[in-house]
Amino acid sequence: MVNYRQTMKVLASILLTLALISVGGSVARAQTSPAPPPAGSNFQQRLAQRKQERRIQLDERQQRRLDQRCTRAQQQIRSLQQSTAQLADKRNRVYSHQIDGKLWVIIGMLKIAGKDTFRLEQQLAEFATKAEGFKTVMGYYTQTLDDIAVINCQADVVGFKALLDTARLYHGNLRTRSADIRSYVVDQIKPTLNNFAREL
C-alpha cells in the first residue's frame, strides 16, 4: 500500500513537471523578444516578419471581437505615438546628454585633482551602452506603433494582433531597460562618486 502511494506521488510529480515545462515553453515562445526589423524594411516586410514571429491563432469569436474594436484601438495608438515621441526625446536628453555630460565633466575635474578615474570611466561607458540600448529599442517600439496606426486592421486582424503583441513586448523591454539603467546609476555610479567625495 505504501509503495503504491509513493509510486503515485512520483508519477504525479513527474506529470506536473512535464505540464509546467510545456506551459512554460509556450509562454516563453509567446514572450520571445521580437527580432530587430531589417534596416530599410518597409511596412509589408515588417508585418510579415511579426506575423511569422508571433504565430497568432484566433478563433472566430476573437476575430469578430477584434474586427469590431480594432479601429478604436488604433485611434488610441495614434495618440500614444505623440507622447511616445516626446518620451523618446526626454529619455535621450536625460541619459545621453544630462547624466552622461555631467559624468564626463566630473571625470575631467577629478583627473585634474590627480584622482584615478578608470573605474568611473568604465562605469560611464557601461551606462552609455545601456542608454544606447534603450534608445534602439525605443526606435523599434515607435516603428511598431507607426505600423499599428497604418494597418487596415479590419482587413488583417491577425496582422493587427501580431503588431500589437510585438509592441507590448517592446514596451515591457523598455520598462526593464529603464529600471536597469536606474539601478546601475544608483547602485554603481553614485557609490563611486561618494567614494571620491570622501577621498578628496
Binding site: V94, M109, I112, S178, L193, A197
Partner: protein
C-alpha cells in the same frame, strides 16, 4: 730778318690756379688730397653712430619685453576662472545630487505604465 717766333717758355705757367700755385684757403699742404684724411673719421663716426643706435634699440626692446619670471607666468596659466578646475568634495556632491534629480525626472509608472497597451486600456 724774319720776326721772332715766340718760343715756349721753359717754365710754363699753368692756366689752372691753385693746382700748382700757393694754397689759397690757408690749409697746410702736405702733398695729399684733403678728403683722404677725413674719410676714416667719417667712417668711424658712422660705425659708432650705428652702434649707438643698435644699443639704444636693444635697451628699448629689453625694457618692453616681459621679464623671464613674467614670461613663465604667462606660458603656464595658473588660475583661469572660466576653465576646468580640480574637483572638490562639493563638486562631486553637486554632481551626485544633480544626477539624482535627473533620475527623479524620469517616472516609468507615468511615462511607461505597465498596462499602457493592455486589452482593457485599448478596449479590445
Amino acid at each position: 730778318m724774319p720776326p721772332d717766333t715766340p718760343t715756349t717758355p721753359a717754365n710754363p705757367q699753368p692756366s689752372t690756379p691753385g693746382v700748382y700755385g700757393p694754397p689759397s684757403s690757408g690749409q697746410s699742404f702736405s702733398g695729399g688730397a684733403k678728403p683722404k684724411n677725413k674719410l676714416p673719421l667719417i667712417i668711424a663716426a658712422g660705425v659708432a653712430g650705428v652702434f649707438v643706435i643698435l644699443i639704444i634699440l636693444a635697451v628699448v626692446i629689453y625694457n618692453r619685453s616681459p621679464s623671464a619670471p613674467e614670461q613663465e607666468q604667462q606660458q603656464t596659466p595658473t588660475v583661469d576662472p572660466e576653465g576646468p578646475q580640480a574637483a572638490t568634495p562639493l563638486d562631486v556632491e553637486n554632481t551626485d545630487n544633480s544626477i539624482t534629480q535627473d533620475l527623479g525626472s524620469i517616472n516609468d509608472d507615468n511615462e511607461l505604465p505597465a498596462d499602457q497597451l493592455s486589452d482593457d486600456n485599448l478596449n479590445l
